[in-house]
Subunit: 644 residues, 2 copies
């Protein structure tokens, strides 16, 4: 077991505390007597006097083992401690950060041996810590002389060891023993939102999380409109790069302030993002990503200084790591999902779906991993939906329709009550009921199907055919009224036939992508489906399957991985072995390009029906009844529309 | 013999041209018939048609050897060609630059194998050129996609291989075959002047040399006044850093324009400078260099991107190499002198003297090298001299005094004539005779001694004692009139007793430094003295020895190395092995610190006499007679001054 240490055994940092236990230990076959450890020495006494050492604790660098002993090493004293992941408690993050603190006493300059201050620091670090091949950039060299003198030749160094190169890099420096900690940022740069987690690089604890809107939205809502902006405007890409870097600067300052941490001590950042965001963050023109063959400027992982990335809120010497991209449509965010979910280690055939504007799909069976991206479009996010809106207070997020009465119950973001619970009206009055968000429209369409209001082709039936007055005319098609707030000056929230078609297009693309991966792996069914992404956390597995978004599996085998991309970023931030692993894994992933695969179109057409034209979905039918209604043949407005 | 190539054997760059010879070669014992080489193939024919191939030349990548043949490989086709050093023809520079050009055909992107463009470039370079571990900064990654497409997937890369790390760095990129060449700058950043040589990195030829005044002069004439400026002003060091970097930007643009070379193709620069300039160039506060123990922030060599050094006239990806410093007073410029003169390989005990405001001294005997700096002050440069001036037109640079008549002859910068040659007056009328420069004052003082006008203690005799009316009163001391231009409205140029004292202080410091090194090496005499520096080129060896500036050696063993620091910078620019060698050599040099060596003061006092109080200078006395005059005891004004 490796004991943590910053001071290198000087008894001043107390990172190496241990708790000896005494008595008879049958399990170990020994009896530990107090004499088994050396008495407190002067160093421990000094530490206890100055800072206090908890009862029963000893400094691991001072106490000597003199006989049989049982020593408990508390997690915070272990170098390779395990950190429980808060968001999903299935796995732990093993700590092995690239950057660590080392306290060192540097020999004073000597005119007879006129090595520079940096060279003497390097030699002291080599002698005391085994650090070989130290380098420093000019910003660190410029700080060196004053800090050494301020600390009376005792300094704490932050040293970064790359997972790729030999040698260490000096990235931080404080006079004396630095007790302010060392921090890193795990950042997911999304098209809409940039989310960051400020992490203690010693404990792995997340001290603060914060999000900020991606200011690139003013250049285009979705990725392709931003690529277009870059194509149409000579400085368009540079403008968007400046915007996202400025937002990162603001976000960094905010999150550091939230956690009361000095930005000077944030010496690492890991970025994950989709390919277009990846290029725009790095200052690379994304224009090639807007057209076949969707060539990335670079697909490998990248390491650089914060200064090179133009992040002015971080020290210029802070180290940046950007995860590799899997393909032109499957970015570093998908790689982070893979790092979090490890489909290469799956014991079952596992499909991981990261639903967003584009859905990324990973399929792994423990031997191979396949990946593709599906052009779902933004319908799952509530865009291109007549009453669609972002997931914000006032948005309908859950829908249930009574199969007998055909009446809906809804739940709205910002309120835990269903609409038929007492007090719902009062509770929602302030925010109002303003529209329907992504999870809401998915549930609504699935419930229409379950309630017999819509047939398997996706056609909403007429009031006559369905026997429901919630169905109203909308041009030549029918819409279903989810909520009528007009009396109170609010909107009429309906699910239109157009909304259903938009959802059908999106879900067909998603399902077709999954099928392509299954074809490539030569399997007919998967065992488990993992929904990743903040949106994935809100999708009802059952409704997703009624819709036929995902392949048929027992509903309890559909789980949410939460913000898996963010978790993957945190793992890469806390553990350099994970960087090597994800780089290897990304290299080994089989990439399937949906745009050029002829079978994609076939799968797409077959997946248009709800849940599917040909796939029987037996697991789904075990838990729900799908009414066998048919509205298309009986004509009505839909038939007329087709002829018209 | 390694054949040069940029195109990698495609027959389009013609760097590999060879000249086969035919006939009977007794020396080699073979007869070479024309059939010994394959016939011209289509590739050679195409090249000859498009560009023309000189008669008798073949493309080395195309011609096949089919029998006994004698092939002449002209120097320009050799990778490790030797370049004759123009300035001093004693040695050659072997070419082995860090950066070279490689033409490569990159596979087009493929959606089935979605590696990024950079990754495909890296694989092509590995396959065709054996380049492993390629990296690129964001500026190069940003250029990659457009250049690859502009060149239809054929590009020329500039690749830099560090002498320290494994791996290559992409530093330049052109569509198709780049025929514009590749260039580097060797720069000597002096306190007064910044001098740069623009060098062809393929041939080693110097295409242009240019100098610019160091604009830091406005912050202080000499080094210590600049250190003071940094100490007294909060942003003083940063101001001086900005000034020197701005000057380098101007100088780079000027020299590139002089040679008609695009700055985009200048992808390397090597810097040498004294320790204070070194720190100010790098943005390091030089304050510690102004006080004992004169600690350098860093003494090792440095490698970085031009972007990190803030040199905006060079591509951000251009690689910078800064030679190591030897000690707090013995800088990278002295290391460059060592690289040029190689005292570690000297077959004789060789003292190398780089004369400037501070003189740096190197002593080598082929087994050890010792180094020190001597605080000569600026007298040797004409500063602190009553009629002193910079070496510029109008300055007296050479002086001869007739021992019989005590009359002087002078020569002035800008005119090859001596003052007693016909036409001297007309030739010097335009510029005038304005003062005396460094080499002039050294000769003048030495000539005063040789002519018996000044005794060994440095005292100028009275008109009575010397019998010369060129000696005039100057307060209580005597001055010698070199030139009286007052009748024509010009100045009276004299050598005053104060001037002699200033030169004595300077030369005593220089000699004492040399003696310290000799003590350390436990030798009593050296075999050879090399004078380095632009100033060294103008010092008369005989006069330097009369003055006792340098230890006694036969005058023909005193040679000038010209601008050895600049030559050392050029060597490091052209050959990465030289970088390793100078780093090793600097590490092995024994540094002697004059400031703390008690014997320095003893040597200094003993060296005050001209040539010396105790050292007999037998070699000097073999070629000149030093009149045994003595003016101090006979009183005169000097005696009165001492009493007064």
């Amino acid at each position: 077991m490796d004991l943590d240490s910053v001071c290198g055994g000087r008894g001043i940092c107390s990172k190496c505390q241990v708790a000896p236990a005494f008595g008879s230990f049958a399990k170990h076959g020994i009896t530990a007597v107090p004499d088994a450890l050396s008495d407190w020495n002067a160093v421990e006494a000094r530490y206890d006097r100055k800072r206090g050492l908890a009862a029963g604790r000893r400094l691991g660098c001072q106490a000597k083992v003199l006989g049989d002993a049982v020593i408990d090493v508390p997690p915070e004293s272990q170098v390779h401690r395990q950190v429980v992941r808060k968001d999903v408690d299935r796995r732990e993050i093993a700590m092995n950060p690239a950057t660590r603190l080392m306290y060192v006493e540097v020999p004073e300059p000597d005119m007879h041996e006129p090595a520079g201050d940096f060279e003497r620091l390097a030699r002291a670090l080599a002698d005391e810590w085994g650090v070989e091949g130290l380098s420093a950039d000019l910003t660190m060299l410029a700080r060196l002389q004053p800090v050494l003198r301020q600390g009376a030749w005792n300094v704490t160094c932050a040293l970064h060891k790359s997972h790729r190169d030999t040698g260490w890099r000096l990235t931080g420096l404080w006079p004396g023993l630095h007790e302010g900690g060392l921090f890193g940022l795990a950042v997911d740069v999304g098209s809409t939102t940039i989310a960051a987690h400020l992490t203690d690089l010693s404990t792995g604890a997340v001290l603060a999380s914060a999000g900020i809107m991606n200011p690139q939205i003013r250049f285009g809502e979705d990725l392709m409109s931003r690529v277009s902006y870059a194509m149409m405007n000579p400085d368009g890409a540079a403008e968007m790069t400046a915007a996202v870097r400025q937002a990162l600067t603001t976000l960094t300052r905010q999150i550091a302030s939230d956690a009361d941490v000095a930005t000077e001590a944030i010496l690492e950042a890991v970025f994950v993002c989709n390919p277009v965001m990846h290029h725009l963050l790095l200052g690379l023109d994304p224009v090639e990503l807007g057209q076949a063959p969707f060539a990335l400027a670079t697909s490998g992982s990248l390491s650089m200084d914060a200064g090179a990335l133009g992040l002015s809120s971080l020290p210029a010497s802070a180290r940046i790591y950007v995860l590799p991209c899997i393909a032109g449509h499957v970015g570093a965010d998908a790689a982070a999902v893979a790092l979090s979910e490890r489909p290469d280690r799956a014991e079952e055939r596992t499909l991981i779906v990261d639903v967003g504007t584009n859905a990324e799909l990973l399929l792994g069976d423990g031997t191979r991993v396949l990946a593709c991206s599906s052009p779902t479009g933004p319908a799952f996010e509530g865009a291109q939906i007549s009453s669609g809106q972002r997931a914000a207070p006032g948005a309908i997020e859950a829908v249930r329709i009574d199969p007998a009465t055909k009446a809906p119950r809804i739940r709205v973001i910002g309120c835990e009550l269903w609409s038929d619970d007492p007090g719902f009206e009062e509770a929602t009055r302030a925010a109002g009921i303003t529209g329907i968000c992504g999870s809401g429209i998915i549930e609504a369409v699935a419930e229409l199907r379950l309630a017999g209001l819509m047939d398997r082709s996706g056609l909403i039936g007429s009031p006559q055919a369905t026997g429901s007055d919630r169905v109203i005319a909308d041009g030549r098609t029918w819409s279903y009224v989810l909520h009528d707030g007009r009396a109170a000056g609010g909107p009429l929230v309906t699910v239109t036939q157009g909304d259903v078609r938009a959802i059908q297009l999106a879900k067909s693309a998603l399902y077709a992508g999954a099928r392509l991966l299954m074809d490539e792996m030569e399997i007919d069914r998967v065992d488990r489906v993992v929904l990743a992404g903040a949106f994935g956390a809100h999708i009802s597995p059952l409704h997703a399957m009624v819709l036929g978004m995902i392949p048929d599996v027992p509903p309890d085998k559909v789980t949410s991985a939460g913000n898996a991309a963010g978790t993957g970023a945190r793992i890469a931030l806390c553990n350099i072995d994970a960087r090597r692993e994800i780089e290897e894994l990304v290299g080994a992933i089989t990439k399937v390009e949906t745009a050029i695969e002829p079978r994609f179109q076939e799968h797409f057409v077959a997946a248009n029906a709800i849940p599917h034209d040909s796939a029987p979905f037996p697991e789904l039918r075990r838990v729900v009844v799908l009414p066998e209604v048919q509205f298309g043949a009986s004509g009505g407005r839909e038939r007329r529309r087709r002829r018209g």
